[in-house]
Symmetry: C2
Subunit: 168 residues, 2 copies
Amino acid sequence: MYHQVIAQCTQSLKNLETCLDKADRYAATKKFDVGVLMTSRLAPDMQPFIYQVQSACDYVKAGAAWLSGQTPPGHEDNEQTIDELRARIRKTIAFAESVKEAQYVDASKSKVKLSWAPGKAIGGQDYLLQMTIPNTFFHIAMAYAILRHNGVDVGKMDFLGSINLVDA
Amino acid sequence: MYHQVIAQCTQSLKNLETCLDKADRYAATKKFDVGVLMTSRLAPDMQPFIYQVQSACDYVKAGAAWLSGQTPPGHEDNEQTIDELRARIRKTIAFAESVKEAQYVDASKSKVKLSWAPGKAIGGQDYLLQMTIPNTFFHIAMAYAILRHNGVDVGKMDFLGSINLVDA
């Protein structure tokens, strides 16, 4: 289910683009610079909106890469504008979607090294469950929460995106 | 991987208990009623902390139940205190952990009905990926964000909980 889980994380990044569009429109309506939202935080010692989006992107990119036996492509954290953030999201999605289901064949046997734990690693399944999923949704949710707190009319359906309904 | 994903969602509810403990200590240190945090929100038209925890619990409970061919046990939304919330989390965890891996054998073939989409349903795998995972992490993250915004010293490691490291 590696491919499917990464695909869902990728979909959640796409949903974040809807939130960016709403942020843009809200700033235009209220006549303020949308850059204010890009640097907003929920607490003074918390990372700002731009970082939350960069970080969500990096966990999706890293999951798609390491679990398919690749080194993640380098994406510099130099975004400052909402359009640059959109580009960051899109290049992350493009990379994640370039990985085919068959490339995850050895994911369960992989060991992923973590920069903050020298000499240690995490097995592929634990990496997916304990790192990729919680971190991706955490940072997307923090980005959402920053917008929500600042009055942007994002709702949970924006966060969830489309749901594959079938006849009961 | 149904059992493992539900186990991770369950672990994330356990991590939320750490955040509740920190909220309790923060309120005691600052000499305010922790109930203030229980009714806090990030925006006036957003659901308060108690609802976020109840909702996270319900998505874990529903995932564990429907995907193992069971009807979820009824848990009334009547919590008002932090201790009542702890009890809600614990009974949810107890139910989720009562479901054995073998009980998810037909999860992929299941169809789950959604109260807000009459006549429609969602396949088991989509339910896990599009409903259980995003909703569980969304509501836990919103609970976390409400505490973080109010000054409780929760950090991302509280949200993530323990990571299964092995030698590299």
